[in-house]
């Protein structure tokens, strides 16, 4: 019968329509976004951030500029710090990432030999101004190592193990300061608040 195929198709849509009422868990696939958010996968990557250990002065980055030269669209800009005599220090004075250009590829994280730059989970970063607001400076990029532990526990464990092994091999006396995972939550939370948020 002509039209039967159309009707059969309509039955499918009708069934799906009813399913949203009868069995919402199976029928509804959308999330009311700003109110509800889906959990992100641990490996989710958006924009890079820098980590520090303890206080924001203890930046882990040594300004080796590897990420700067590996970044495909060249959106990282680093100037190492210099001391009074003009000797280059192992610390960035300027570390800018142009979020407007960054393409979230994650290569900077992969090539950094010092585990100091990682991809963030922050995705609500809309800004009014592309040129200034999306040029993220060092201060805004810095986030505590505990924050990383929170968003990516698996990688945190892996990297901690690697760093512990490395520092044990390098000099057995000074172990990498190891933030214990849970008890630190109290003292770090005010710090986390003081960090300028990118979001």
């Amino acid at each position: 019968m002509f039209g039967w195929g159309v009707l059969k198709g309509m039955l499918v849509t009708l069934w799906n329509f009813l399913l949203t009422y009868l069995w919402p868990k199976k029928g509804i696939f959308t999330v009311q976004y700003p109110e509800k958010k889906l959990p992100l996968a641990q490996r989710y990557r958006n924009f890079p951030f820098l980590v520090y250990d303890g206080t924001p002065h203890m930046i882990r980055c040594v300004a080796c500029k590897i990420c700067e030269s590996e970044c495909p669209p060249k959106c990282i800009y680093i100037i190492p710090e210099k001391d009074a005599e003009g000797r280059v220090q192992k610390k960035p004075a300027v570390f800018d990432i142009d979020y407007a250009i960054c393409m979230n590829c994650g290569l900077c994280e992969e090539v950094c030999p010092f585990d100091s730059i990682f991809m963030d989970h922050e995705y609500e970063i809309s800004k009014y101004n592309r040129a200034e607001d999306l040029m993220v400076r060092k201060e805004a990029l810095l986030k505590p190592w505990e924050y990383f532990a929170k968003i990516r526990p698996h990688d945190f464990e892996r990297i901690e193990a690697k760093r512990a092994a490395k520092s044990a091999k390098a000099k057995p006396v000074a172990p990498a300061e190891k933030p214990s995972q849970k008890p630190d939550a109290g003292p770090t939370s005010p710090q986390q608040g003081s960090v300028p948020k990118n979001g």
Partner: protein, 381 residues
């Protein structure tokens, strides 16, 4: 006012420019059509609105740094783009790929095929006027696959997951269950999709005998992929070239008979079923553990700036969901490719657009374009 009678009725050809902002052109693509009434007598595709100098950029970058850029060629199938590029570089430098990584690669490629084909069918139906219902059904399923991609590679669409000599990271725990669920549920979705569409009389009358691509023309115009197979030419690079480990899987290559829009649509439906079959075999055969990056590959990926492949050239190709996707690389022994060329299936398949559209109604030109399956990121590069 007197009505014009037939002999004095003035008729002339009408030139219509469709796009580049037209929703049915799937991106910034323009068709300059010359119409006689409603019939197309000439059609000139105008492309280049999305040109971003992809090949030239690649020639200024180290080999690995170009991997994320290949994601952006055909942004619906970033995994297969990665795959082809990785194959080309591996051929160039003679890098081997460990067993588990091979399976992971095939898994990703076939999942990408599911994503691409279900999406394409949804949008094709959109062009036909089935306003967004099929698209959303397809999106619903695609979402599950993208969730898996996110869990594995970190990004839903711009996966950047393949590395020379393997893949970036192993599966996280429970990701395999995710795939199993997808593979288990997908046939059910395909059945539903088929119930929704296959018998539909409107779909049939709009698609059958429309935009017929004859076998000879398809071969002469180097059409590849489902479009070629819909015309009845048995050519699938997975079978013809047997790259990676495709020789281990048992699957069939669906072929069309007439080469019209309907065949192109239906070949894709059947291909999805074959992809599900391949995925089942992958899940069964994949080794539990194993390396995911070979030693030589690790060298290439650890410090991409320093890594130099030997001088020479290589062409790596795969059967991407849209057709033959190939990367041609010429190396002069420096860390950057001397020449980098992409053979994009969308672009080459698009070259027959005019032949398909001539003599058809203008409304059909839209679905013919839809059935070619283009992504402008790949057409314009």
């Amino acid at each position: 006012m007197s009505l014009p009678c037939a002999p004095t009725l003035k008729t002339e050809l009408l030139e219509v420019s469709i796009g580049p902002q037209h929703p049915s052109t799937h991106g910034v693509f323009r068709m300059n059509a010359v119409l006689d009434g409603e019939t197309v007598v000439k059609l000139k595709p105008v492309m280049g609105y999305l040109h971003r100098n992809h090949e030239q950029i690649a020639e200024t970058l180290p080999y690995l740094a170009n991997m994320p850029y290949t994601d952006r060629l055909d942004y619906i199938c970033s995994m297969t783009n990665n795959f082809a590029y990785a194959l080309a570089v591996e051929k160039l430098a003679g890098i081997d790929v460990p067993e588990r990584a091979q399976y992971l690669r095939v898994m990703m490629a076939e999942l990408t095929r599911l994503v691409n084909h279900s999406l394409l069918i949804g949008f094709l139906l959109n062009d036909l006027g089935a306003w967004f219902t099929p698209v959303f059904y397809a999106f619903r399923e695609r979402e599950k696959i993208l969730d898996f991609f996110e869990a594995v590679s970190g990004s839903r669409m711009m996966c950047n997951y393949f590395r020379f000599g393997g893949v970036k990271a192993d599966l996280p725990e429970s990701a395999l269950d995710q795939v199993r669920r997808i593979v288990r549920d997908y046939p059910r979705f395909l059945d539903e999709f088929e119930r929704l569409l296959a018998g539909n009389e409107i779909l049939k009358s709009r698609c059958q005998r429309v935009g017929i691509l004859p076998k000879e023309l398809a071969v002469n115009a180097s059409i590849t992929g489902p479009m070629l197979r819909a015309s009845g030419v048995n050519y699938d690079i997975r079978k013809a070239d047997r790259y990676s480990i495709y020789d281990r899987f048992d699957f069939r290559v669906p072929l069309g008979m007439t080469g019209d829009v309907y065949d192109r649509y239906y070949v894709r439906v059947l291909e999805m079923r074959e992809s599900v079959k391949i995925l089942e075999q992958v899940l069964k055969q994949m080794p539990e553990k194993g390396d995911i990056l070979s030693a030589k590959g690790l060298q290439a990926c650890r410090a991409p700036r320093m890594w130099k492949p030997p001088a020479g050239d290589a062409y790596g190709r795969i059967e991407s969901p849209k057709g033959e996707l190939g990367f041609y690389l010429v190396s002069d022994g420096s860390p950057k490719p001397y020449r980098y060329h992409v053979r994009p299936p969308s672009f080459i398949n698009l070259t027959v657009l005019e032949d398909l559209c001539i003599g058809q109604k203008i409304a059909d030109a839209v679905i013919i374009l839809g059935s070619i399956d283009i992504v402008l990121g790949e057409v314009d590069r």
